[in-house]
Every structure is written in structure tokens, then in C-alpha cells.
């Protein structure tokens, strides 16, 4: 075991896979010589050479487009989009091509690509470096969407994603790259080097896709969340004294429905949390699923806590971010309803 930040864990996953599988290639803007603006690919070009780890032109459509072609050839590309906010030019390649290639060709061609992208706010990134566009991916049949909340899962899930034969969107909450973040932006962050979930095996291991984790067991209310927000939810539970059971989805779609349903049936109450904007957000889908599968076990209306339906502001970041206070209030509301 080694202590790793999420960045080191992601790098380690790519390192392991570049070493194990000659079909794996890694590329994106600034990922080669420099090692990525967040340093996730640092040292990989020196170790594996320029034809396996390389820089690309500033063209997200091109990055994903060549990844689809490479996948069709038989490689396993791991492409980086520098910020999730920048993926939009690649939409056609992801939605119309990568996601549907296996289906439209009846398995003649497949698209075993992984597209990594840092997401989420809390870094004063303003509206073009803070977005959480996961619902745009979960809406697309044929894509898998994954979003880890800690270094251990980040490495194990990224290896699973690279080995998976479907196209995987791998979202990385950049606010927790260096340490867990409970939403108290005015307090110092505990680095991963001093956190148990920063303990990561150096070699190969996987965390299965479509498998949620009970992040914090509890009996009062189920919180369904992912990424940074599981840490905020934990803080809210501790601060309100409400014994919340926090489900970390890890794979957003296809997802582990049983884990959600089992917990909600046990607690009878449910709060759904994400940082992304509210309307037609992934929370709406989660809420529908809970309603469809747990209606007769519910003792209170399901509560949603999300970012506001505004662009992610720069200066007003902490009014936008659904912090522990907003979550705490939501937990109380879920408990107060009869």
C-alpha cells in the first residue's frame, strides 16, 4: 500500500494499464511531455514513449474522434478532456458515434474508449471550469458514466473503465484531487496523505463498475450521492446528528439500483444530492427510481439538494455550492416530515 492523492491514484491506474496492456494509449491536451494541467499523466510519456502518451491539438472533437477510430482498430485509448466544461465540441463523437457504434454495427465494431474529464467546482473556476455535466452523459444509451469520490476508488474504477469494452465517461471531481472536501471552504483541507482512503495498492486491482458503496452506514435517512458531495453529506450528518446512510454511487449509469433501494427501504427517507444544476439533473432520475421502487416504504417526500439553475458563478461560488448547511437543512426536512 502507498498513500496517494487522487491525481497519483489516477496516474498509477494509467501506469499499470500502459504496462499491462500494449493496446492502451493515453492522450489529450498537455498530457504528454508536461503531464497534464492537473499532472495526472506526469512521467508517463518518459516511461512509455511518445507514441503511447502524447499531446493533441486543442480539439475535443478531434480527441474523441481519433479515440473512436483507434478503438475501432483495436486499441484501448484513454483520452483526457482538460475540463468537463470543454467536452461539448466532442458531443457528436460521444453521443452519435462512441455510444452507438456497437449497436449500429451489430457488434461488427466496438468502442472500448475511456474519456477522462475533471468536473465540479469549488476551485474558483467560474462557469467554464466548474461544471458537472454528468446528466448529459447518463441520458445517452450506450455510455457508461463513472465518478469516484476518493483515491482508492479512482484507481480501481479507472482500471475497470479502461478494461471495459464499452465507452466510459470518467468524471473526476477536481475539488477532491488533493484531499477530501466537506464543503467548509474556510477550513484547511485534510490531505489524502493523512486519510485512510488515500491508501492505495501500487499494483493492479479493480473496483467493479455498476457497484455502489455504503460510504457511511446509518439508520435515519438515506443520502444518495457521488463524488465531492459524499464528503459534504458526511459533514452534514455529523453536524446535525442525523444518522444518515450515505450511498456513494461511484457508477452513475448503469447503476447499482439494489444498493439504493435496499437502503431507502430500510430508512424510509431519502435525500438526493449533487452539485450539478437541478432541472433535468441526474437527481431527477434518481428520484424517479426511488419513487418507482420504494414508494410504499417512504415516510417522507424525497428531498433534492443541488446547485442552482444558474451558471456556476466565480465570486459567488459558495452561495452556489450545496454546502453542509444546505444539506443539513435537507436532512432535517426529511426527518421532520411525518
Amino acid at each position: 500500500m502507498a498513500q496517494m492523492t487522487m491525481i497519483q491514484a489516477l496516474r498509477s491506474a494509467m501506469d499499470v494499464m500502459l504496462d499491462r496492456n500494449p493496446e492502451v494509449v493515453v492522450f489529450g491536451e498537455d498530457v504528454g511531455y508536461f503531464g497534464g494541467v492537473f499532472r495526472c499523466t506526469e512521467g508517463l510519456q518518459a516511461k512509455y514513449g511518445k507514441t503511447r502518451v502524447f499531446d493533441t491539438p486543442i480539439s475535443e472533437g478531434g480527441i474523441v474522434g481519433v479515440a473512436v477510430g483507434m478503438g475501432a482498430y483495436g486499441l484501448r485509448p484513454v483520452a483526457e478532456i482538460q475540463f468537463a466544461d470543454y467536452f461539448y465540441p466532442a458531443s457528436d463523437q460521444l453521443v452519435s458515434e462512441a455510444a452507438r457504434l456497437r449497436h449500429r454495427s451489430a457488434g461488427d465494431f466496438t468502442c472500448p474508449i475511456t474519456v477522462r474529464m475533471p468536473c465540479g467546482g469549488g476551485i474558483y473556476g467560474g462557469q467554464t471550469h466548474s461544471q458537472s455535466p454528468e446528466a448529459l452523459f447518463t441520458h445517452v444509451c450506450g455510455l457508461r458514466t463513472v465518478l469516484p469520490s476518493n483515491p482508492y476508488d479512482a484507481k480501481g474504477l479507472l482500471i475497470s473503465a479502461i478494461e471495459n469494452d464499452d465507452p466510459v465517461i470518467f468524471l473526476e471531481p477536481k475539488r477532491i484531487y488533493n484531499g477530501p472536501f466537506d464543503g467548509h471552504h474556510d477550513k484547511p483541507v485534510v490531505p489524502w496523505s493523512r486519510h485512510p482512503l488515500g491508501e492505495v495498492p501500487e499494483g493492479y486491482f479493480t473496483v467493479p463498475l455498476e457497484s455502489a458503496k455504503i460510504f457511511r452506514p446509518g439508520k435515519d435517512v438515506t443520502v444518495i450521492s457521488y463524488g465531492t458531495m459524499v464528503w459534504v453529506a458526511e459533514a452534514a450528518a455529523n453536524e446535525t446528528g442525523i444518522d444518515a446512510e450515505i450511498i456513494d454511487l461511484r457508477s452513475l449509469w448503469p447503476l447499482d439500483l439494489d444498493a439504493m433501494v435496499e437502503s431507502v427501504k430500510k430508512t424510509g427517507r431519502c435525500v438526493i444530492v449533487h452539485e450539478a444544476t437541478r432541472t433535468s439533473g441526474f437527481g431527477a432520475e434518481l428520484l424517479s427510481l426511488v419513487q418507482e421502487h420504494c414508494f410504499y416504504d417512504l415516510e417522507a417526500p424525497i428531498v433534492r439538494v443541488t446547485g442552482w439553475d444558474t451558471p456556476y458563478p466565480h465570486a459567488q461560488e459558495w452561495a452556489y455550492f450545496p454546502g453542509p448547511e444546505r444539506l443539513g437543512e435537507a436532512l432535517k426536512r426529511a426527518m421532520e416530515a411525518c
Partner: protein, 411 residues
Amino acid sequence: MDRRSPLRLHVPEPTGRPGQHTDFSYLHLSPAGAVRRPQLDTSVQKTGDLCYALVRVLDDDGRAKGPWNPKLSPEVLTVGLRGMIRTRVFDARMLVAQRQKKISFYMQSLGEEAIGCAHAMALDPGDMNFPTYRQQSLLLARDDAPMVEMICQLLSNERDPLKGRQLPVMYSYKKLGFFSISGNLATQFIQAVGWAMASAIKGDTRIASGWIGDGSTAEADFHTALTFAHVYRAPVILNVVNNQWAISSFQAIAGGEGSTFAARGVGCGIASLRVDGNDFLAVYAASRWAAERARRNLGPTLIEWLTYRAGAHSTSDDPTKYRPADDWERFPLGDPIARLKTHLIAIGAWSEAQHEAMQKEVEAEVIAAQKEAERFGSLADGHLFSNSTMFDDVYEDVPDHLRRQRRQLGV
């Protein structure tokens, strides 16, 4: 006092419209044999003039001229002729089948047969095409053209290799070097570059060939493909089929006015050619030149194939609404089949009687394939893949939510 005149927006127009002949002088043709053939390792800049000229081998009398003459044997030429005739006959039969409501939709390649046929013959086994919906000649040029399966795809029947999931003509034949066709235009162009990059990464010897129409060169994927192909010196041929029309939009609406699509390539650092796409010999020679360059790590080549979309865009289109009805007859580059036939007769390797016999043979071949395919049903008679199969291949395995939805559908 303001002496400036008001600004004007320029909206290009074709020279011809229904009832008014097209003035084809906008094409800027070169005489057969007049354009030089550069060395394979030519610098990109030295192909600049070729983007505004037109590589042609066959003259109007069917004689092969100049440095681009590939000097193919009459035997090879008759194989090419057969491929073109097979493509044309196949298209004609399938159009009729569409009108008989046996198939839901069709797209013919009338007038463009030389491009795919000669190109397919110039590539090697294992090379991968990333075609548009009008390159059926890449498949039909082959002696082993999978015609029965292709027709089953068109019929969406129970032997459709794509299980009824795709519109007719959106074939996929990995084993024949034919990538799955997308209805979203231009996406395949950058994918071809990615495939070629992969081949280079692996130290393979296979090359890719990407296809796009004049209209879709306006998409970002076209420009992205040129950038990536140049940056990584990808072993890829970038084919722009300039058939003058994108549904009802003339090629000037895609940016062809006062420029050429080949010229885009040189601007991006790619050796580029503008070639008579209705001249089988020129298509073969230019395709070989580009393929050899790719195979020798000399980088990508962009080729603009000048041709004319003689038929409607698709069976849902009526071109008499927007262009002169006699446009193709007046198109100066003629009919690719007639031109190769004239050449073969001129060199004493062919006769009208042989041609007629070949036409009959191919018609019989296509009719037999159609009969065989129709045995397996059609969209009209309901002999399709079962509804439950739509849930397969969305992912490698069927996830829980799709199993639930399949149960809901009751299949």
C-alpha cells in the same frame, strides 16, 4: 456626409436552375495528360498548383494520356468496368425495389461509380475505408461483393447483418475494410485519421481511407481530421467527393466558390490533388499515389474527386425542384462507365457485344442475389429480427435496466 456604400451579404448561387442550363466553366478543367505527377516524397507546397488543376488521364476519345496513366492491363480494366456496372445495376434494381415498397429508403451513386471502384482496387487487403452513404462501389467493386447480405440489410429482414437497426445503405463490413456508416455527416473523417494513427502506433502496414462529401467539408470534423492527419503524419487518404450537390445545396454553399476543396489540404500542410472522378484511370492512379505515400510514412494525401451526383440525393429527394433536369448530360466529365468502355474499345480490348454480354451477366447476378435475399423476408412482410434484439449490443452485456425494459415490452 457618409460616402460609404451599404454592406452586402453574398449568398452563392449555382449558374443553373430548373429551366436554365448550368455554365460548367466554374469547374476549371485541365486537358487529359496535362498535369504533372510529382514524386511520392514531394513537399506539400509543391502540390499547391495541383489543387487548382485537374488530374485526368482519359481524353474525350478514350485515349490514355500523360504521366498519371497507371498503365493497367486490359484484364484489370475489365474487372473495374464490371465493378462499375455492378454498382449501377445494383443501384437501379434497389431503386425499383424501393418504389415497390420492398425497402424503405435508398441512396444511389449514379455517376460516381469510378471513384469507389478504382479506389477499392488501388488499396490492399486489410486497409480500412471510412465511407459515407454513397460509397457502395467500394463493396460492389469486389468479385466477392456480399450482395445477398447487402440486400438483406436494405430489406431489414431476418438475415440483415445489422439486425434491422440501421437505415438501408448504412452497411458495416469490418472484414472487407468498410467501416460502419453513420448518418451524422463527417464524423467518420476524423475516425479514419484515428484508425490510421493506431496503425502507425502499432507499427502495422495497413492504411486508412476516409470519405466525405463536398457539403460536409463545412463540418468541424473535416478540419479537425486535416489537422490531426498533418500533425501525426497519419497514414490516411482523405477523399472529398465533390459531386456538386449536398441535397439541394450547390457546392458553393459549402465553400467551393473561387477555391477548391483540394486547396484546403495544402493550407493544412497536406499534399493534395484535384482529380477527375469520372476517369477510372485517373482515380486508380491518384489512389495508388496516395496509398503509396501513406504506406511509406510520407504522410496523408487529400484528394478532391470531381464528379456529379447524377441521381437524387435519396429516394426522399426530387432534384428537378432545384437544378436543371439535363445537368448530368451536360456535365463535362461525362459518364465514368461510358468513358472506360470507350477506352477499352479504343485500345482494341473490348467490343459493344462484349459490353452488352457483361451488362446482361451482371444483371443476372444482381437479380439472383435479390431473389435469394428476398427469401428471408422484408420490412414489409414482417420477417425481421425480434423486438427483443434491440436491447442487445447497447452495451457489451445487457445491464439490469435494459433487462427490466425488455420485460416491460413483453419480449
